[in-house]
Each structure stands twice: as structure tokens, then as C-alpha cells.
């Protein structure tokens, strides 16, 4: 392995990163996940932690760009140079840039992650059979609204599993429209547009207005690539047009004619000869996860390795079951040490769904030539009954409602509602950054910030923005603290964190543990179980839970009731 001249490295271990923009090639969730997994490659073998931030200046900025993209090192179109990153330091140092003239995938071809439908965000399965016909790409057949869809199993006729494909008619990304779909036609600079355009931009990204008049409303978003979009050339993102004419000959599929490199291409108008508009047809693409893991190695201070199988070897090769090479481990641990992780888990090159598609928009199942509306499968089985849960992972009062967390789901109860809660919601739908198991949570009454704890990590939500995961060590808790099992906030900017017999007082503003802590729970809160697995504040009283029961304590620290979680808090029959 090699390090940069002067052994450039970060002077702190809690690094932050920010994703400045997205590639149209992949669903933003898949990109987020690829970057998170790429950072995990390095955090698994070092004491480094990586926290994503959504505003402000991070240590590592991540961006996609093409050719001249704002630094002195332009990219070169498709293939060749894939990405670059700067060694640790202030400003642009540490940043990672990815060439968006590449076709970004997970290394094995186009990834068409679906949204909505009933397949919970699964990827398209090509080919698939619909109404007896085979499809190799998304289709709007069977629909009257023109939305492209695909089957997520080989046989839609049999399995009826489907989702909607990336389309500007369904959503946009980035911009200022919160993912709203394009509105066609729209007016821009006095001209009417019936499709996405690159006009008005110098970076080549396709965009659209999300209202009928951009000049008036200034609402816009970027268009996701459809599965048939070309890569690079001079028509990035436009679909192939078949048949097209090239040197007087008609082509009904992608061809390598005219190229010395045998790469497949197509025209994006019906006549290449006349319009000279073209792009490459989708191929295996480059694994964003693998390239990002390599680039982040530079961001952390590693130079290129001479070892062919090492991640930090400069040339790209796809590896199905990626494992960090010993040479990379030695290099990064030379800079930062080995960290607390005993045995790094093996990362995979498969995306972990980070969000579940909502089924709240008006969507209809693709029908067999006639459009019929069928009920949609809800994202969570309503049969899951809070009253059948023996012990919850966490209970917390958030935003005025009591939240009961269990295995990735949560139910809510308000003081006005005296009935048992209905369908649960997914934690990932409301707080996408959180893991499925929450140990405890509280909301600071002043800032309204919400804090969630799971294992030795915690997350801070400010509205929809999240900071974390961060290690509880950052709060000043020692390494022997396995986690926080209970918590509640007070009105004075302090919160109490409980674990078994001990508890700590946290300054919520500075996120530091006050001096004089930990203290013993049974000394200051006498009469409640010292091994409570959950502690929370509800309507001004403290609750200490053990098994199915709670001990309720007044603000004067007197136990005034022992009751059942199931009957007294959940109002189960």
C-alpha cells in the first residue's frame, strides 16, 4: 500500500460526508446506500465513523459531474477515467467526484428499482411475461396513464408483482420540487417544452418544470433516466429510437457499426445521418459501491496500491463478493489504527432497501389490455397487532403521541384516543436513517429535536434532517456502556439516559454528559425496578418498564401506580 506524500490523514475520527447531487442512472436510495456501504468498508476496520450531513460543510463532499465539473481535473466522457478524490485536508481536500458520463450500476447491468406498486421497491425482472408477451424493458402497455412499469418476477401473469419504473412522469430528483413529477408541456424562457430538456444548463443534466410555467413558478427537478436511456454520447438520458438510419442503413437494435471499440450504440432520433444524435446502449456499467470504496480510500489518505487484488489498485475490475484486501487493511490501519471492531462483517454489492415505497399515490395495477383499478397492497400488514406484542423495544412520547417501537414498526397512541392502536407504521418510512430496533428515544421540548438510541449508536432528527449514526462515546459515555435503554428529556435542556443500575444526565445542547454522572438509579429513583428495559416520560410522569408492567413515578419521585403496558397504555381490550 502507499500513502500520500507527508502521510496526509484526518486529525479526527468522526468524519462527516455530504452527497451534493445524484446520478440519473440509479435511484437516489440506491446511491445513498452504495455510499454508506462504501464508507462502512473503512469504518469496519478502523476507529473512523462516517456521519452523513445534509447541510453545512462536511469533511467529504461527494458529487457527480461530467468533463469540466468545477476543479482543474476534467473527466473524459464514458469509460477511461471513472472518478477521483482528494487526500485529507480542508476545503476541497477529501472530496470525491464521480464521472456522470459513466453508466453507474452495481456492476452487473442496469438496476431498475421500482417505486410504488406492490413489490415493495424490488428491482425489475427482465425479461418478464405480461399478457403472454415477453418484455425486456419497462413498458406502459396495459396502462392508460403512460406510466412505465415492470414485473419484479419473471411472470407477471402468474405472480402479479409489479412496480413503476423511473420516469419523469412519476417523480423527479434534486431541484426544489420535493420529487414532484414533471408537468408537460411547461414554459421555460417563453418556449413550450413537451419533454425533459438540458436547455438553460451547462452541466448536461436533464430537467423539467414541475408546474406548467417555470418562468412564473421556478419549480423544477431533474429527470431520472429511463431504463432505455442512452449513456454518454451527445444525447445522455434520451431513449434510443428504433429503427434509426446510419450511413443509409436501417437499424432495429443497438449496433457497434462505425466504432473501432465494438461498443454498442444507438441513435436517439430516427436518423443519425441527419441529426448526429447518439449515445451508448446500457451495458454492465460500473459498480458505484466499488468505485466509491476506492475513492473514499483516497479521501482517507491512501494512494494507489501496487497489489493487483487490492481495492486501492488503480484499475477497475468488478468483484462479486467484495472483501477488503489485507493490503488495504494494512494501509488504512497504518494511518488510523485498528479500531474497536473485532471482525469486520463482509459487505455485499447488493443494495439494501433503505426506504419502502409508499402506496399512497393513485396507482393502478397494470391490467391486461383494459385498465382496471385494484386495491393496493399496503406496505405494512395491518394484521400486526400491538396488543399481541409482549415487550416493546422502546416506548417514547414524541410529538405529543406515545410511540411503541417493535421490530422496525411503531404504533402511536394519543391521550385523546382511548382505543387500541390500528395499523403500525414502518420506522423506515418516518425516520429512514434509523435501524429496525430502537432502544429508546426522547424529544427535547425546547428544540423539538428527537434523539434515538440503538446499541452504542444514536441519531438526532431535526424535522426530516438527521445527524447520525454517531457513537455514544461522543457523548462522553465510556466503552463499557453497552447502550441506552431508557431516556427522557426535561425542560431545562437536560435529558436523563438510563442503563440498568446507572443513569447519566445529558446536556442536550452541547451533547455532553454532565459532571458527577453516572449515578445509581435506585438511589435517586427508589421503588422502581433497577433493571428496567425502558424508561420514558409521559404526560409529566416517569415510567419504568419491566416485562409487561410499568411503574409510574410522579415528578416528586413517588411511585403512584403499577400497571400493564398492554391495558393501561395501549388500551387493549
Amino acid at each position: 500500500y502507499n500513502t500520500f506524500e507527508g502521510e496526509l490523514k484526518w486529525d479526527h475520527n468522526d468524519l462527516t460526508y455530504r452527497i451534493l447531487n445524484y446520478s440519473p442512472d440509479l435511484d437516489p436510495d440506491v446511491i445513498d446506500d452504495a455510499f454508506a456501504r462504501a464508507f462502512k468498508v473503512w469504518s469496519d476496520v478502523t476507529p473512523l465513523t462516517f456521519t452523513r450531513i445534509y447541510s453545512g460543510e462536511p469533511d467529504i463532499n461527494i458529487m457527480f459531474g461530467t468533463e469540466n465539473h468545477g476543479d482543474p481535473y476534467p473527466f473524459d466522457g464514458k469509460d477511461g477515467l471513472l472518478a477521483h478524490a482528494y487526500p485529507p485536508g480542508p476545503g476541497m481536500q477529501g472530496d470525491a467526484h464521480f464521472d456522470d458520463d459513466e453508466f453507474w450500476t452495481l456492476g452487473t447491468g442496469i438496476v431498475v428499482k421500482t417505486r410504488f406498486g406492490n413489490a415493495e421497491g424490488a428491482a425489475c425482472h427482465f425479461p418478464f411475461v405480461f399478457d403472454g408477451q415477453s418484455y425486456n424493458s419497462c413498458t406502459s402497455d396495459g396502462r392508460s396513464d403512460g406510466l412505465p412499469w415492470c414485473s419484479t418476477t419473471p411472470d407477471f401473469d402468474q405472480d402479479k408483482k409489479y412496480g413503476f419504473c423511473p420516469s419523469e412522469l412519476l417523480y423527479t430528483y434534486g431541484g426544489n420540487s420535493n420529487g414532484e413529477p414533471c408537468v408537460f408541456p411547461f414554459i421555460f424562457d417563453g418556449v413550450s417544452y413537451k419533454g425533459c430538456t438540458k436547455d438553460g444548463r451547462q452541466d448536461g443534466y436533464r430537467w423539467c418544470s414541475t408546474t406548467a410555467n417555470y418562468d412564473q413558478d421556478h419549480k423544477y427537478g431533474f429527470c431520472p433516466n429511463r431504463d432505455t436511456s442512452v449513456i454518454g454520447g451527445n444525447s445522455q438520458g434520451d431513449p434510443c429510437v428504433f429503427p434509426f438510419t446510419f450511413l443509409g442503413k436501417r437499424y432495429n437494435s443497438c449496433t457497434s457499426e462505425g466504432r473501432g471499440d465494438r461498443k454498442l450504440w444507438c441513435a436517439t432520433t430516427s436518423s443519425y445521418d441527419q441529426d448526429k444524435k447518439w449515445g451508448f446502449c446500457p451495458d454492465q456499467g460500473y459498480s458505484l459501491f466499488l468505485v466509491a470504496a476506492h475513492e473514499f480510500g483516497h479521501s482517507l489518505g491512501l494512494e494507489h496500491s501496487d497489489v493487483k487484488d487490492a481495492l486501492m489498485y488503480p484499475m477497475y475490475s468488478y468483484v462479486k463478493d467484495f472483501e477488503l484486501h489485507e493490503d488495504d487493511v494494512n494501509g488504512i490501519q497504518y494511518l488510523y489504527g485498528s479500531g474497536p471492531h473485532p471482525a469486520p462483517p463482509k459487505p455485499t454489492d447488493k443494495p439494501i432497501p433503505t426506504t419502502t415505497p409508499s402506496t399512497s399515490i393513485t396507482t393502478t395495477t397494470p391490467s391486461t389490455r383494459t385498465t382496471t383499478t385494484t386495491p393496493l397492497t399496503p406496505s405494512v400488514n395491518p394484521a400486526l397487532d400491538a396488543c399481541k406484542v409482549k415487550m416493546f423495544d422502546a416506548i417514547a412520547e414524541l410529538q405529543g403521541a406515545l410511540h411503541f417501537f417493535k421490530d422496525g414498526l411503531f404504533w402511536t397512541v394519543t391521550s385523546k384516543n382511548k382505543n387500541a392502536p390500528q395499523s403500525p407504521r414502518k420506522i423506515s418510512d418516518t425516520w429512514p436513517a434509523l435501524p429496525s430496533k430502537i432502544d429508546t428515544a426522547f424529544q427535547d421540548p425546547t428544540s423539538k429535536n428527537m434523539f434515538f438510541f440503538s446499541g452504542r449508536k444514536f441519531w438526532q432528527y431535526t424535522g426530516k434532517s438527521v445527524l447520525g449514526p454517531r457513537s455514544i462515546e461522543k457523548l462522553g459515555l465510556s466503552k463499557d456502556v453497552e447502550g441506552i435503554m431508557g431516556s427522557f428529556a426535561r425542560d431545562n435542556g437536560k435529558a436523563l439516559l438510563f442503563n440498568g443500575e446507572r443513569y447519566w444526565r445529558l446536556n442536550v445542547k452541547t451533547l455532553t454528559i454532565d459532571k458527577g454522572y453516572p449515578r445509581l438509579t435506585d438511589v435517586d429513583y427508589a421503588g422502581v425496578p433497577s433493571d428496567s428495559h425502558d424508561v420514558f416520560l409521559y404526560q409529566g410522569k416517569y415510567y419504568f418498564c419491566q416485562d409487561r408492567f410499568f411503574w409510574r413515578m410522579t415528578s416528586r419521585k413517588q411511585v403512584d401506580r403499577v400497571g400493564y403496558v398492554k391495558y393501561d397504555l395501549l388500551h387493549c381490550p
Binding site: 473501432g260 448526429k276 447518439w278 460500473y286 494512494e303 494507489h304 493487483k308 488503480p314 484499475m315 477497475y316
Partner: protein, 88 residues
């Protein structure tokens, strides 16, 4: 019977960068870009090119010949990280 293929047509596609370079041009571009060859060329260009090729072949684990052989040219055409291998 298969018909004899006609001579393949190769055209310049609009919008492509760094295309239609000769092998030597590709090699020089690569060696400069990734730090094996200084930008300024002197009178002993041939000697320094051979030295740079050897250095590149050694660094990337190729057979060290000092010549622009097929293996070396293939390596130069392989997609890769844009960070230089040598120097800053």
C-alpha cells in the same frame, strides 16, 4: 455460406473526447496523466518514454519490457481512477 465482411467503417462520433489517438499518443497521454512522465519533453524523449513505460509496468504489475506492448496498451485502455499513480 457466410459472406465476406466488408471493411468496417469507423467514424468520429460527435461529443467524444480523446478518441482516434494513435497508440503512442495514448501512451504519452497516460504516462503524463498518471505521473510517470513529466509534461515537458526533452531531446531524450525516447529514453524517458522507455523509462516511464518500465516504471508504469512495474507499478501496475505488468511484465516490465519498457516497450509499448499489447498488454501495456490494454492496461492503458482499462477504466480506472483518475488519481495519479506517482506524485501529486
Amino acid at each position: 455460406a457466410p459472406t465476406a465482411s466488408k471493411t468496417p467503417v469507423s467514424i468520429t462520433f460527435p461529443g467524444e473526447i480523446r478518441k482516434n489517438m494513435t497508440s503512442v499518443e495514448v501512451a504519452e497521454w497516460y504516462l503524463v496523466k498518471f505521473g510517470y512522465l513529466p509534461l515537458q519533453q526533452g531531446s531524450n524523449h525516447h529514453v524517458s518514454l522507455k523509462k516511464a513505460l518500465s516504471q508504469m509496468q512495474s507499478k501496475l504489475g505488468l511484465k516490465v519490457t519498457g516497450n509499448l506492448d499489447a498488454e501495456t496498451l490494454d492496461a492503458m485502455k482499462t477504466p480506472r481512477c483518475a488519481v495519479p499513480d506517482i506524485g501529486n
